[in-house]
Subunit: 736 residues, 2 copies
């Protein structure tokens, strides 16, 4: 099945008032079917009535500013932990807001501090009795009595947020001067819900030409706490998935009614770590997330129903105020959204967008945005910039994901006028859009080939944080590198949690489980590994033929004498300094074709020792049944191990590169004991990848590099080989 | 006071039968007053009766072989943990000794396994009920019933040691073939004590010419468990300070009588970690150590009394069977030893020997030993060797310690005949012995100058493991590097424990406390930091003017949001991966005279960025009150912080080099706020050090390098400077 035309459709263009001619010219050239507004741009009637579908953005929680200004107790709020103060005497006075950005936060003195706040002696780890401290509302300070000299004290307190974070960021970054500070209201209050719905009704009536309402997003932003001095510490805390900014006395009261127990400020503050998505979550916090998800669905549905009643579609932006939306959850469909829009830098974000069920349209916002400078301040659409090369490089990253999973639409954002002096960019986007439509047509005909076994990534979050971890790529988190590699591989990948394992065991068809991350992280699993049921489940599964690929500190949870709980399966464990007196098995030093690397199926495409990034130290092999394929300074970095009828591979770290992606791909095949199936529909050149769309009989080969590449693909018979030559960034479509 | 002669006395020479003329010639040349036998050498009557004092060595526990062979149940024993076995079904059979060296160990089946052994489910961490397992004495296996598939099981069991470790090591290393395997008997049994005392009486009668009985050492060796395959894993476990090899059912029974509670096998096995000196010890294990120390003193005293009754002196070797001797303990004097002999590679071992109270004579055994090859197999006293250069290099290390603390005697070990072809070695030892006697004479007149403040090293062991950690230098343990640096500095250093702190606070005069080591280690303190009293004590002391020098992971004990318990004092903490979402204070990048290093009193002698060894990652400064003097890849490595009236310095690691020793020395002065006192009696050249012996008005300047050095010393007036030129390895004595 081919699309009606490769030249048009499925493309969203940012229109710009004052550049009507350019807007309409590029809409035609790029085959746009939709024109959108952007932050800070307005569409002119000439564009709005040009026959294109119109997207319009709306952010409900910051849409009712006059009301917000006179209803400060309905602003959003959150718990903060004061900076610790060491007691010198028997009394300590703490200024809770000291160190925080007071244009973002004000103390919530409306809700009784004695009821909602907590004071902690952080030296003992215990709460200070309520009777032993007082809040001085005039001074904004807390005085703690009967303190122990030398102990550190903190206050967990509620603060209203008087400046909504996204507008605050844009305002300060762009020096918007005395432009109004927008605040976000909290829809947890019924009054706020009424005000928001009234606004929405008005807005819908005011936008007759709008075909798609793009919510940016629902009600609660990801967590972002700013410091007083932005030169030395702007982001005191920022986490893409933390529900910290949803809390309020009302929410806590409602929570207790539903769940039968009360949460405290410390459930949110957690000694200042808050509930970072990167750390293994507590059961109580998971309950709270479910509670907020319920609420966001319930009130969100009311908003979306109104959009539908107005004859428009409702799309949601997968960022900003996305907390509680959870497009990965099974309940996401309950919102009734028509589309989901994700801005992407990487392949894993493409997969994240494609992964959401319960929405018809999955749309990508591609980079570069049409701004004069890029995210790091480098020139883009201005002198010194090369936006065409930028677009190619972003595209080859995103394309890896688009090759594996269906995406419905693409689009751009920003100021269209900026592309006027860059005709080669205009031409390249035309070509890119055709390439996208072609790949979309292949997916529409049928799924591309995947390896003859399934892979699951095991984390504390499971599917809820599939294909994302916690927002954009973070280099220090190994799992980002791994999911970026997986996002472009012809492998069927799912994400499972420890709860899933306990409930249903390893899913059918899954032959390889990846566990990757640091001790205590949500990615490795942290305290979830302190569960014999989990350990036994995976150990038995491996013994019967399952495979584990462990990366970094897989299954880490320290007990005396053991750190990796799956050490018997992996054949390796890690010494964090407690085994100085315990000898280590002297393994055979790896030696082969590449210096210091043992020749093996897994290492067959390496041309040099792999750079696994900031990998962990102190790993050791348990005995001679573990084979070391690579080491660094006498420490194993890459090992293989047989356990019962299963296999295990250990990597001490992982960094996303073409060679490492191939290493991981081969490790999966070896772990699954599918070496024989390896050549089919794989390329010989690690800088290239391919996808076989059987229904269309099309072999797609992509060049992931900025230089020309030659590669060879083995066809389904396992013998016939196709030689392919690719220009830089290019794609080849072969009829096979 | 000068010694009667710098040419003779205080020197022990290893005599060798068959080389009587050489023995007597070198005894004269080197000024020996004593001739000793060595392992494997016998002294001939010509030497024994030459008028020199004679040392003879004896190892009581392996001295009664015929009796040991027929009283196998009186051999020494210990707990071992079997290698874990993963259950596949409802029953698991474990061969406890699998993987262990069966020439060292046999199962103890005499004492009821059901009573003394324990089986553990290591997946749950709980003991398996005694009724659920059985020992098959014929097969030497344990069968565990009702096992959970996927769980790991181990057996803690008692094994007799049928080959004493030191003789085993020598036997195997030197290929002694079918020479008898010596076993060590356990003096915990009254029958064994009677046999040993009877042997000792006979031995004393048989050695009329022996003036000094050198015990090698008392009864229990440091822990050393060998594996079955010595090519891949010889040292399954080895720890210089662990009491593992003292245990027996009798000892445990007696312990319970005295302490009122029973120890179990797991108190010794500890999940396979045993009680390594490097790890923070439990209270139960400390009780057991005290119990054994009591016993070794009590029975040891009986042996020493017999030596004295025979008109001889008793010396003890500070190694091998030294467990329970504890020369650093306050009770060491109760043995009644006349001398303590320590073999030294490093300055800290010199200080260890000097540190023992309750013994008159402190004697060093210097390196190189008179063997054909060195410890790593390199040639020494044979073709290709340069024993004179070796001797000089060992001497400059040891001399740093001898400069600071009084030592009474020195000596050599090995085969004297080997030095015959090396006349320059013979000459150098003559010179070295004179140098030693001169330094000894200075100490005899009065203590050398030390800094105007005291320093204490805080560890879980305190003074009990002062100047040693756990035996010889271990590069991966930062505190060895630190004590090797301190051992040669003009600073008054003590070692204190957390118990000391809680009992008496920081000792009078101590201005700087060093805490250095990895999380969980005895050196950092591990669980001892989970004590608010300790934290408050040091925090308050620092606030009032005390200073902390933290190295590596000082005061580490993880709680939510904090890792270093003294973070408020240090001004830094460490993120182990749990603070990805928490922003870090952006400190001013260090820049100064040396690239990447801030100019500061502490860094004034650096000529390049300091190499702090395998330092820790993830340290961050708390706020702007912390100054970063050096960083690596954006992570602070060397910081200073003021806290109240006190100061703190943090180093992310430490490696013993001349530059780093100077860095530490300066850090101590800065922390103590004694910068003004710095120049006095210090050298300008970091490869040189000096000592001022006020009573003798002698300034001693040493060259710690193998190349000539120039240096300048500032005298007491703080103005006058003495320029000194030193040949390689040389020493200069100035009358000031």
């Amino acid at each position: 099945m081919q699309p009606s035309s490769l030249n048009s459709g499925d493309f969203t263009l940012p229109g710009e008032a004052g550049y009507e001619q350019l807007t309409l010219r590029l809409a035609k050239k790029w085959g746009a079917d939709t024109i959108r507004d952007s932050d800070g741009t307005q569409l002119s009637p000439e564009i709005v009535q040009s026959g294109y579908d119109i997207y319009s953005t709306v952010c409900l929680v910051r849409s009712v500013q006059p009301w917000a200004r006179v209803n400060r107790n309905k602003l959003q709020q959150n718990f903060l932990m004061s900076y610790p103060v060491v007691a010198e005497k028997k009394t300590v006075t703490i200024t809770p807001l000291a160190g925080y950005f007071t244009e973002q936060f004000v103390l919530n003195v409306e809700d009784d501090p004695k009821k909602w706040w907590q004071v902690f002696d952080r030296t003992t780890g215990t709460e200070v009795a309520k009777r032993a401290w007082d809040f001085n509302v005039r001074k904004g300070t807390v005085t703690v009595r009967d303190t122990i000299p030398g102990h550190s004290y903190t206050v967990n307190f509620l603060a209203f947020r008087i400046w909504e974070e996204i507008s605050m960021y844009n305002h300060i970054t762009n020096n918007w001067g005395d432009r109004e500070h927008l605040a976000a209201v909290d829809p947890m209050h019924p009054e706020t819900q009424r005000v928001i719905l009234k606004f929405l009704d008005g807005w819908l009536a005011d936008h007759p030409d709008t075909r798609v309402v793009r919510f940016t997003s629902m009600f609660y932003n990801f967590s972002w706490f700013w410091g007083a001095n932005q030169a030395t510490l702007r982001d005191v805390y920022s986490d893409w998935g933390d529900y910290a900014m949803t809390v309020s006395p009302r929410a806590l009261t409602e929570f207790k009614k539903v769940y039968g127990y009360a949460l405290t400020s410390e459930d949110f503050v957690n000694g200042g770590l808050y509930n970072s998505t990167h750390n293994a979550p507590s059961r109580r916090y998971r309950d709270y997330m479910a509670f907020i998800h319920d609420f966001v669905i319930a009130f969100g549905r009311q908003c979306i129903d109104r959009v539908h009643a107005a004859g428009k579609k409702a799309y949601v932006f997968y960022d900003d105020h996305w907390i509680g939306v959870e497009p990965n959850s099974a309940r996401f469909a309950e919102f009734g959204f028509d589309g989901l829009i994700k801005c992407v830098f990487n392949a894993f974000e493409v997969r994240l967008c494609a992964h959401a069920q319960g929405v018809k349209t999955h749309e990508l916002r591609l980079h570069p945005y049409l701004f004069p400078t890029g995210l790091k301040g480098e020139p883009t659409f201005k002198a010194g910039g090369n936006p065409t090369l930028d677009a190619k490089n972003f595209w080859i990253d995103a394309r890896r994901g688009i090759l594996r999973a269906p995406i419905d639409r693409i689009g751009l954002g920003g100021y269209l006028s900026l592309v006027e002096p860059f005709p080669d960019f205009q031409d390249y986007i035309e070509q890119l859009a055709r390439e996208f439509r072609l790949l979309k047509s292949f997916h529409a005909a049928g799924k591309p080939y995947t390896a003859p076994f399934k892979v699951a990534v095991l984390t504390a979050w499971g599917d809820l944080r599939a294909w994302t971890c916690s927002g954009h790529f973070t280099a220090s988190v190994e799992l980002y590198h791994v999911i970026e590699a997986l996002a472009g591989l012809p492998v069927d990948v799912s994400f499972i949690s420890f709860d899933d394992l306990k409930e249903s065991g390893v899913p059918r068809g899954v032959k390889v489980i990846i566990n990757c991350g640091r001790d205590g992280s949500a990615w490795s699993g942290g305290h979830y590994w302190n569960d014999p049921e989990v350990v036994a489940c995976l150990t038995n599964w491996a013994g019967k033929g399952g495979a584990v690929v462990g990366i970094g500190e897989p299954s880490a949870f320290a007990t005396a004498g053991q750190f990796f709980r799956l050490a018997p399966v992996l054949g390796v464990d890690r010494d964090r300094g407690e085994r100085i007196a315990n000898g280590k098995y002297k393994y055979a030093a790896p030696a082969g074709r590449v210096a210091g690397i043992a020749d093996h199926f897994i290492t067959a495409d390496l041309t040099s020792a792999p750079d696994l990034g900031r990998d962990v130290e102190g790993t050791y092999v348990l005995d001679g049944t573990t084979t070391v394929l690579a080491e660094r300074e006498g420490t194993p970095r890459l090992t293989t191990h047989a356990f019962g009828r299963g296999r295990a591979v250990y990597l001490s770290g992982f960094k996303f590169t073409a060679e490492n992606t191939r290493l991981l791909h081969r490790a999966l095949f070896w772990a699954a004991a599918q070496e024989a199936a390896w050549p089919v529909w794989n390329t010989t050149n690690v800088r290239t990848e391919c996808a076989w769309f059987a229904a269309e009989k099309k072999l797609v080969v992509i060049n992931n590099a900025g230089e020309p590449q030659q590669t060879t693909v083995t066809l389904a018979d396992g013998r016939t080989q196709k030689r392919v030559d690719l220009a830089a960034h290019d794609i080849a479509i072969l009829d096979v």
